[in-house]
Symmetry: C2
Subunit: 191 residues, 2 copies
């Protein structure tokens, strides 16, 4: 944390020669390039999470008194929300790539960085909410809940549970990367 706090003070001391001295700009350029690469990773995990969840579907060869033939993501409105949200986050991240490129070309411009921080934070919240809501349902599907008599369905729908768990993990990766993106943009923001 001490590094993070020290940075703006250092920048302020060399503010007078910031244009002639390439070092502060070079440091910010490195972060901007990392931002671009992390954004590509976040796109892959967000769209991967949406696709994995959207294709989750299992039909059982038998049925019992309590369980039906088929389990699919659209049985649960939480999972529908998950698919839509993750697709949105992936789409936003694709659209944010040009701004990330601008940050690489002009590492000291505050405008695009501010724009990205604010939208990244909003979509971080969106991705976190859908990931966490899906996690709560996946947990119930695995373990059930005795007090409310909700039985675990993963004994019956093993492959379905496997696939929704993978989608949730992919969404966590996207959330962590978005969190990193916000922190990285914030650190490079003070002139």
């Amino acid at each position: 944390m001490s590094t993070v706090i020290d940075v703006p003070e250092t920048s302020k001391n060399v503010k007078g020669r910031a244009i002639s001295n390439p070092r502060p700009s070079g440091w910010k350029k490195g972060i901007a390039i990392m931002d671009f690469i992390l954004r590509l990773g976040a796109i892959a995990s967000a769209l991967g999470a949406a696709a994995t969840m959207a294709t989750s579907d299992e039909t059982l060869p038998f049925f019992t008194q309590f369980f039906q033939f088929e389990a699919s993501y659209d049985s649960f409105s939480t999972f529908q929300f998950f698919v839509i949200t993750m697709a949105f986050v992936g789409g936003y991240l694709v659209l944010s790539l040009p701004f990330s490129v601008i940050m690489i070309m002009r590492p000291c411009a505050a405008g695009p960085k501010l724009f990205l921080i604010i939208l990244d934070t909003v979509f971080l919240t969106l991705a976190t909410s859908s990931g966490a809501a899906a996690t709560a349902i996946v947990y119930l599907a695995h373990n059930g809940n005795q007090d409310s008599n909700w039985l675990a369905i993963c004994n019956q729908f093993g492959d379905f549970c496997q696939q929704i768990s993978e989608a949730v993990v992919a969404s966590f990766v996207a959330v962590v990367v978005l969190l990193l993106l916000v922190v990285m943009s914030a650190v490079t923001l003070p002139n």
Copy 2:
């Protein structure tokens, strides 16, 4: 959005006389005071959410074949996570008040602002995840899920459902305020 992007450019133009001109500093001071007030609101809603959830408890005067006598927040591990997380978020927000005061006294210092942005973002993610996970369970408690044969329990436990719904709404207020805090700090960050 155009206002947000224009701000750093204006600041850059007047950078040379920023110290002698009180206007940019006064603008930032107003935001810092609003930050402090919003933080107080977020503390109230986060701790209120934790307390409401932690005291949710309903004992029925009768029992059926499927439902037990009592519903309480510790029947669901998601709600336990909710109480712990919201208490943490409330505690962090109390501890962040001194930094908010420093921001009021020194509106142009980037250090405390960066510190608060990064921690605010982390606790925003934490609050969002617990709020969203609890929402998924509250939704199930209200509506149930036919495909997995999870029955709605709110017919039996009406007061319990009322209380957990209130806790979830309070957590949403805390999330929105934290989001606002991050955006406000980010906007005032460029010198």
